[in-house]
Symmetry: C2
C-alpha cells in the first residue's frame, strides 16, 4: 500500500455551495489524493471535507484549499452555531497506512508553516502536534472564537506557532494538528436493560478507569429492543478493538447477558482489523506486508 494520510479540514462556510465547490476542487484536482466526502451544515454554517492520499500531496491540497478559503470566506461577516475561529478553522492530519505519528506531526508543521508564512494567517499546532500541553485541546485554542482572537493573539501564552501575531481579520486563525484515526465501534448486548450497557461502558472507558483510548456510553436501541455499548476508539494502536470487545464480553457474561453483535460505523484503517485477526488466530511474526493488496501500491 502506498503511504497514506487522511485530512479532514473544517471550513467556515456551510451555505454557499459555489464557494465550497471551489475549495473542494483544490482537493479533487490533486493527483494521488482521493476526495472521500464533503458535507455542508447550514445551521453551523460550516463544511467538513474528508480526503486521503500520499502525504506530500495531501499537504499540498490542504494548503491550496486553505488559500482558496482565505480568499472566498470573510470571517468578519460569518455567523453559525458551531464554535469557529477561522475561514479554515481546523486541519487534522491522520496517519492511515505506513506513516508514523511522528511523520504526521512533521507534515502538520510543514503545512502550518506554509499557511502562516505564505497566507499570513496565525496558526496554532494542536493535539499530537502541540508544543505545550495547553495547546493539545482544540477547545482551549478556540476559546473566545473568532471575535476574541485579536485580543488572544496579544497574550504572551497565545503567541501563534506560525504566522503573524496580529489577527488576519478576513481569514481568522487556523489550527493544524496530527491525531490518530477514530474508530466508531459499538457492541450490542442481548438485553433491554440499559443499566447493564451503562455499567459496562463505565468499566471500559478511560474516564472511569477503563482503557486509556476508549470513550464509551451505554444506550438503548429501542427498535431492536436491545442495548449497546457505543464507543469511540481514539487510538486503536494502543487500545485494541479486540481487547475492549473481549472485556465487554466477559463483563456482559457477569450479568448473564450475551454479546449479540458489533458494528463499525464509517471508515476504519485496515490495520485495526488486521490486528483483530492477528490476535484471535494467535499469529506469529505476521507482517502486514504479507497482505497482497499492500504490495500493489507500495
Amino acid at each position: 500500500m502506498a503511504r497514506i494520510i487522511q485530512c479532514v479540514p473544517n471550513f467556515s462556510e456551510g451555505k454557499d455551495k459555489e464557494i465550497i465547490e471551489k475549495i473542494v476542487e483544490e482537493i479533487r484536482r490533486m493527483d494521488e489524493v482521493k476526495l472521500l466526502d464533503y458535507s455542508m451544515d447550514k445551521d453551523h454554517n460550516r463544511s467538513v471535507v474528508t480526503f486521503i492520499g500520499e502525504p506530500e500531496k495531501v499537504i499540498e491540497a490542504a494548503f491550496n484549499a486553505s488559500k482558496v478559503a482565505s480568499e472566498l470566506i470573510d470571517m468578519r461577516t460569518h455567523t453559525g452555531g458551531h464554535p469557529r475561529m477561522g475561514a479554515t478553522d481546523v486541519i487534522p492530519l491522520i496517519p492511515i497506512s505506513d506513516v508514523t505519528m511522528e511523520e504526521c506531526v512533521k507534515y502538520s508543521k510543514e503545512l502550518g508553516r506554509r499557511i502562516g508564512e505564505e497566507l499570513g494567517i496565525s496558526v496554532f499546532l494542536y493535539e499530537k502536534s502541540a508544543e505545550t500541553p495547553a495547546r493539545e485541546n482544540l477547545a482551549d485554542i478556540r476559546r473566545g472564537q473568532y471575535e476574541g482572537m485579536a485580543d488572544k493573539l496579544k497574550q504572551e501564552e497565545w503567541q501563534p506557532d506560525f504566522g503573524p501575531n496580529i489577527l488576519n481579520e478576513k481569514a481568522g486563525v487556523t489550527a493544524v494538528g496530527a491525531r490518530m484515526p477514530l474508530v466508531a465501534f459499538n457492541v450490542n448486548l442481548g438485553t433491554d436493560d440499559v443499566e447493564i450497557a451503562k455499567k459496562i461502558a463505565k468499566s471500559v472507558r478511560a474516564r472511569t478507569g477503563g482503557f486509556t483510548y476508549c470513550k464509551a456510553i451505554g444506550l438503548e436501541i429501542k427498535e431492536r429492543n436491545i442495548v449497546q455499548v457505543s464507543m469511540n476508539m481514539v487510538d486503536y494502536t494502543q487500545t485494541s478493538l479486540f481487547r475492549v470487545f473481549d472485556t465487554i464480553e466477559r463483563e456482559a457474561n457477569r450479568y448473564g447477558v450475551n454479546v449479540i453483535g458489533s458494528e463499525i460505523i464509517g471508515l476504519v484503517p485496515m490495520q485495526a482489523l488486521v490486528d483483530v485477526a492477528d490476535y484471535y488466530l494467535k499469529l506469529e511474526n505476521f507482517n502486514s506486508s504479507q497482505i497482497l493488496e499492500k504490495r500493489m501500491f507500495e
Copy 2:
C-alpha cells in the same frame, strides 16, 4: 481498492537469465501491474513469475510475456525435472480484490483465445475455467508432457479450447485457468507428540472428511520441540481460516493440548483476514468498502 487479480505464469526456462529478464520485462513495463517476484529453478529448468494488477492489464502483460516466451524458448531442446508441455507452461489467474471468480474465468478465456489465435499455440482451459471435469486437473492435461502433445492433440477428447489442433513444435501447449488464491496457514500445538498433529490434520482436511477447501498434514517442528498442523487453504471464501482454527483448537483441547500460535506463510488476500476480524467481533453489516485503504484506489 482497485480491482486486482494475481497471475503466476510458469515458463520452461530456468537457466538463461537473459531470456527470463526479457519475459519479465513485459510485466515490469506494464502500467497498473506490479511484479511481486520471480524465481528461476535450474534443475527444473523452469521459472515462476508472480504479479498482480488491474485485470485487463494483467491479461495484456501475460499475453506479451507468453509471446516473448514463444519467441525465445524452444521446447524441442528443453529438458528439466518438472513436468512441462509448453514454453509458457501454465498461466493461473487468481481473483484478489473486487473481482469475482466468474470474471476471472472470463479473463482466462480472453487470454487463452488471444494466445491460441494470435500466437498459434494450442491452449487448454483448466481448474475453474475448464469446460469439462476432465480438464479441471492440470496434471491430466499435461500428462504425456511436451513429447506426447503432438499425438494427444489428435485425440477427439483432447481438442484444445483455443488455437490449432496441431502442435506448435517450438512453443508447445499452454494451460490457462482461474483458481482461488491459496493461503498457507499453519497452527502450532504445545506438544512434541506428532501423532496429535496428525490426528487433528486428519480431522480438518477434505480428503479424510474435514473441510472441503482445506489440505492438511501433521508434522514436527524439531527446533521448537512442538508439532504443527500445516495447511493449504485452497478457497478461504468457502472454508474460512477462523472456522478451521476454532476446530483445531477444540480438537487439541480434547487431547489436553493448547494451540500456541499460528503462521501465515507468504502472501494473503486482505479479505481472508477481514473475514477473521468480522467473525470474532461478530460484526453486523460490515462492508469492506469501509476500509479506508480500499477507498484510496477504487
